[in-house]
């Protein structure tokens, strides 16, 4: 019996995705044929699958799968500063994950014999960008707003929150951004711990 209930729950959850507004419409409604070139989906806040909704609800995020095994260690080792590529970091809330154009600023000239770099140049010529996935970031449900720029102005080291990237290839989430983590640092540095500093 219980299994039947559970299957029912799941089936309902799946079915809900397909149910449109139940507002009554008159009999004159004609199904409009789709026009060429129209976007397939409508933006909604719904999740694409029931599983995605469950993961979202439980605040479970899969590990980021990056398109290439970007070597942070090599770049940091060569003395490239973080903000050279993450150029939004001192300008606003988001540091930004650099696009292929940023890579090619240097790699049009540097290490052009490497197959990976040649592959990237080919992608650029086809107009395709690297589809990076985010490693850090808060869920909407956390109701927290983070802004990079004031932290950079306060001379907080990038590694304080992002770990020692110089020893990583693709970035790993090895610092947990809990509220305690934030508040400890704010206390040590005598930064505001007013709720509205972060929750607004």
């Amino acid at each position: 019996m219980l299994v039947a209930v559970c299957v029912g729950v799941l089936a309902t959850g799946l079915a809900c995705r397909y149910v449109q507004s139940n507002a009554p419409t008159s009999a004159t409604t004609k199904e409009l044929p789709p026009l060429p070139g129209q976007p397939a989906g409508v933006f909604t806040t719904a999740r694409p699958t029931f599983g995605a909704a469950v993961n979202d609800f439980l605040n479970r995020r899969p590990d980021a799968q990056q398109p290439i095994e970007f070597p942070h260690n090599t770049h940091v080792g060569k003395g490239v500063m973080c903000e050279f590529c993450h150029e939004g970091v001192d300008k606003g809330p988001v540091a930004g994950i650099p696009g292929l154009r940023t890579c090619m600023i240097c790699h049009d000239a540097i290490a052009t014999d490497r197959p990976r770099i040649q592959q990237m140049a080919a992608m650029r010529d086809k107009g395709i960008d690297l589809a990076w996935q985010r490693v850090y970031g808060f869920a909407n449900e956390d109701h927290v707003k983070f802004n990079h720029a004031p932290h950079i102005r306060a001379k907080v080291e990038c590694s304080t929150c992002h770990g020692n990237v110089a020893q990583q290839t693709v970035a790993q989430r090895n610092v947990e951004h809990t509220m305690g983590f934030c508040v400890n640092c704010h206390n040590e540095r005598k930064a505001s711990i007013d709720c509205l500093t972060c929750h607004f």
Binding site: V9, L35, R60
Partner: protein, 753 residues
């Protein structure tokens, strides 16, 4: 359920959910290289211009990075773009002073609408069934050019016509230039709630064929005859700002407000006193007030002004409009009339406004002239707290492209009648107008369009008119292209708005003005329009204006601020066109004519502009569909407003489905019972009942224009849209088609149980 089975259930559900969420890789997304430099997470506010009505409000648009779904070389993917995310009113704009109405706020959904036309389309099915194939821009433009070349070769240039929104802006001047240089007649313009009657009356009374600007902020009393000045009429944001000032912007002074109408509008609900009146008799009330004021010598009587000479019996003190006679005609008691007159005099400066249903009768011009005379009597013209006319930029003069000498366009009614009887329009351009939806059925616009050999639409959506098109050349959205407006009213100084695109086009669309210029240059005999692009035309126009800021030229300044405002040189001000068929004799009140015998059709039918969809052109925006109507709380539906006494007589309950029939046809809808309507009037908002207008509006509700009779105001030829009579009959009990805002709906359901 006991504790044990609850725990079991939780465990099993949790496990199933966890299993269901496994093995669910996110789709591998193709990401395209962005075309612009974007700082992520940082918002920029850019100027814009709201195109949704003629008011021409200035916008400030929040622009930020976003991922957009795009199709490139047949491959679907996402690209980082800087995208408009929020529209607000521009704080420094002389028209809207930072305000923006709900329709403007919802305008952001136009750009991201899922049913937008994203590329040129060529008809593949039969006319009107909405089947289209993709076509490239080169082929599409080639088709238009060859059609126009064929007309030229046959010496048949007069067979090109254009159906447009009108308005004295740059786009309109460009269309006129294109048509004139090709040898075609001027564009046919049509707006359902178009105010031609008031413009003509102002031309007769004051020599200005223009909508007036009211200085509500400095008025102490406002007497409005049917004008929905806070909701939909003229420049509602400017008027709302002024109204707020009048009511509570001056310490110790609270202006008073009286609304005269037969159905309580959103504006009427704000009034101190609501005066119900018989439809079409508002002018008599205005004359009655003038009579009392003159008889009791409450104000000095002007006699030299043309505004008062237009009314018969003015010099005799309007003896025909005694309080008793006014009571007989209007149904407003003589005692109340006396009180209104006293209020009007004591509240100086007091301003009278007539618009909307009051002027949508066969005697509309008399009503407008009567109210103009009342304002003249009160000394309101060009004084603080009164009426003025905004000096309006003459775009044709500014761009040094004088008004072409081509014959004026016929009115829509005559044009479509000529088409239906086989006149010779072969190629038709449609720019934004949707007369198939908003014109009365007797004009047979759809039948007329069916006779046109080739129709080209520049619309961004398929609506009832553009679905007739053979070729659709979609325009950019208003956030993706140059926008401009030359407001006719709403500001006390001259103002012209202009703004560059705030974001790049999302789709394969082209700006209509640029496309016209392109087509003009590709013709066999190039039209040699004086500009290479619309931007060049705007630069020429704004470059001709005096600088508004010292040391900065007007064009640069205007682009940064989103508008130019200042003192207009006389040579660039729009001159009034002297009304050709001015009435030779002084006007007297004539009874309004109504379509349908009172015995068979006992009710007056009032289709009124919807506070959300205006004339129906915004019904495709879901935010507006779900916005409860301020008077009834209805949403996502059509409804018919009926007085409780009438409802009791007809045995109608809230939500009952009724049929309303006129001589033109019948429509059905649910009843909303409201005391804010005269017992012999039934009202219905215009805007729903689209047959073809995106997934959100199609097939929803009923279109009241389908039963409106083609009576016209004789001087202007404008549709008298409030002059139809109807009968009402019950069809059945509530069937759920009336959707009220949650609270109301719940109460209603409980009553039914």
């Amino acid at each position: 359920m006991d504790r044990r089975s609850f725990i079991k259930l939780t465990a099993v559900t949790g496990t199933s959910a966890a299993l269901a969420s496994c093995g669910n890789p996110e789709n591998q997304i193709i990401r395209f290289l962005p075309g612009e430099d974007i700082v992520p997470g940082v918002a920029v506010w850019k100027p814009g211009v709201c195109p949704l009505c003629r008011a021409g409000c200035g916008l400030t648009v929040r622009v930020m990075d976003a991922d957009a779904d795009v199709l490139r070389n047949g491959q679907a993917g996402v690209v980082r773009v800087s995208a408009a995310k929020k529209l607000e009113g521009a704080p420094e704009h002389p028209v809207n002073s930072g305000g923006l109405c709900p329709r403007g706020q919802a305008g952001i959904q136009i750009t991201y609408h899922p049913d937008r036309v994203t590329q040129p389309l060529k008809r593949s099915g039969s006319r009107g069934d909405g089947r289209y194939d993709a076509i490239s821009w080169d082929d599409a433009i080639g088709e238009v050019v060859s059609r126009l070349n064929a007309l030229e070769a046959a010496g048949n240039q007069k067979s090109l016509a254009c159906l447009a929104r009108g308005g004295a802006n740059h786009r309109d001047v460009l269309i006129r230039q294109f048509l004139a240089r090709f040898g075609a007649p001027m564009p046919v313009t049509y707006e359902l709630f178009g105010d031609e009657v008031l413009r003509r009356a102002n031309a007769l009374s004051f020599g200005r064929e223009q909508l007036p600007t009211f200085d509500l902020a400095n008025a102490r009393h406002v007497l409005s005859f049917g004008a929905d000045l806070l909701g939909t009429w003229n420049s509602p944001v400017a008027q709302s700002v002024g109204y707020g000032q009048m009511r509570r912007g001056r310490p110790g002074i609270r202006g008073s407000f009286v609304q005269v109408e037969s159905r309580m509008s959103q504006t009427g609900a704000n009034a101190d006193e609501w005066v119900p009146i018989r439809p079409g008799t508002e002018g008599v009330l205005a004359m009655g007030l003038a009579h009392l004021i003159m008889a009791e010598k409450l104000l000095p009587v002007p006699s030299a002004s043309s505004a008062v000479r237009l009314l018969a019996g003015w010099n005799e003190g309007l003896a025909d409009y005694s309080p008793q006679r006014v009571e007989e005609i209007t149904g407003v008691p003589a005692v109340r009339l006396a009180r209104l007159a006293r209020r009007f005099v004591e509240g100086s400066p007091a301003v009278a406004i007539a618009a909307g249903p009051a002027l949508a009768h066969t005697n509309g011009i008399f009503t407008a002239l009567a109210v103009n005379a009342l304002n003249t009597l009160a000394g309101n013209i060009d004084r603080p707290g009164g009426i003025s006319f905004t000096p309006q930029l003459d775009v044709a003069a500014a761009v040094k492209a004088p008004a072409p000498g081509a014959p004026p366009a016929p009115a829509l009614a005559q044009w479509s009648a000529a088409l239906a009887s086989g006149s010779m329009t072969e190629v038709l351009f449609v720019d934004g107008a949707n007369p198939v939806f908003t014109a009365p059925p007797a004009w047979r616009v759809r039948d007329g369009l069916d006779k046109v050999a080739y129709i080209v639409s520049f619309g961004s959506f398929l609506d009832e008119t553009s679905v007739m098109a053979d070729l659709i050349l979609p325009d950019h959205s208003f956030l993706e292209s140059w926008m401009e407006a030359v407001p006719e009213s709403g500001a006390h100084t001259s103002v012209a708005s202009v703004a560059p695109a705030v974001m790049r086009p999302l789709y394969d669309t082209r700006a209509m003005p640029d496309l016209l210029l392109d087509i003009g240059s590709r013709l066999q005999r190039p039209l040699e329009l004086p500009w290479k692009s619309f931007e060049e035309m705007l630069a020429a126009s704004f470059g001709a204006l005096p600088p508004a800021t010292p040391d900065v030229d007007a064009w640069t300044d205007a682009q940064g601020k989103g508008m130019w405002s200042g003192t207009l040189p006389a040579a660039l001000a729009r001159q009034s066109i002297v009304a050709a068929n001015a009435p030779a004799v002084a006007q007297t009140y004539e009874e309004p004519r109504f379509d349908g015998e009172a015995s068979e059709y006992p009710f007056h039918f009032l289709p009124y502009p919807s506070s959300t969809f205006f004339d129906g052109s915004l019904a495709h925006l879901p935010w507006l569909q779900e916005m409860p109507d301020p008077m009834t709380s209805a949403m996502w539906s059509s409804w018919i407003e009926i007085n409780p006494r009438t409802a009791a007589k007809l045995g109608l309950g809230e939500g009952d489905v009724v049929e309303i029939a006129s001589t033109q046809g019948a429509i059905r809808g649910p009843v909303v019972i409201t005391p804010g309507i005269a017992p012999d009037v039934v009202a219905m908002p215009v805007g729903q009942g689209h047959r073809f207008f995106t997934r959100y509006a199609s097939g929803r509700g009923a279109n009241p224009m389908e039963i409106v009779a083609p009576l016209a105001e004789p001087v202007t030829g404008a549709l008298a849209w409030a002059a139809t009579r109807v009968r009402v009959s019950r069809v059945g009990p509530p069937d759920g088609r009336l959707i009220l805002f949650a609270g109301g709906m719940r109460e209603h359901v409980e009553q039914e149980r």
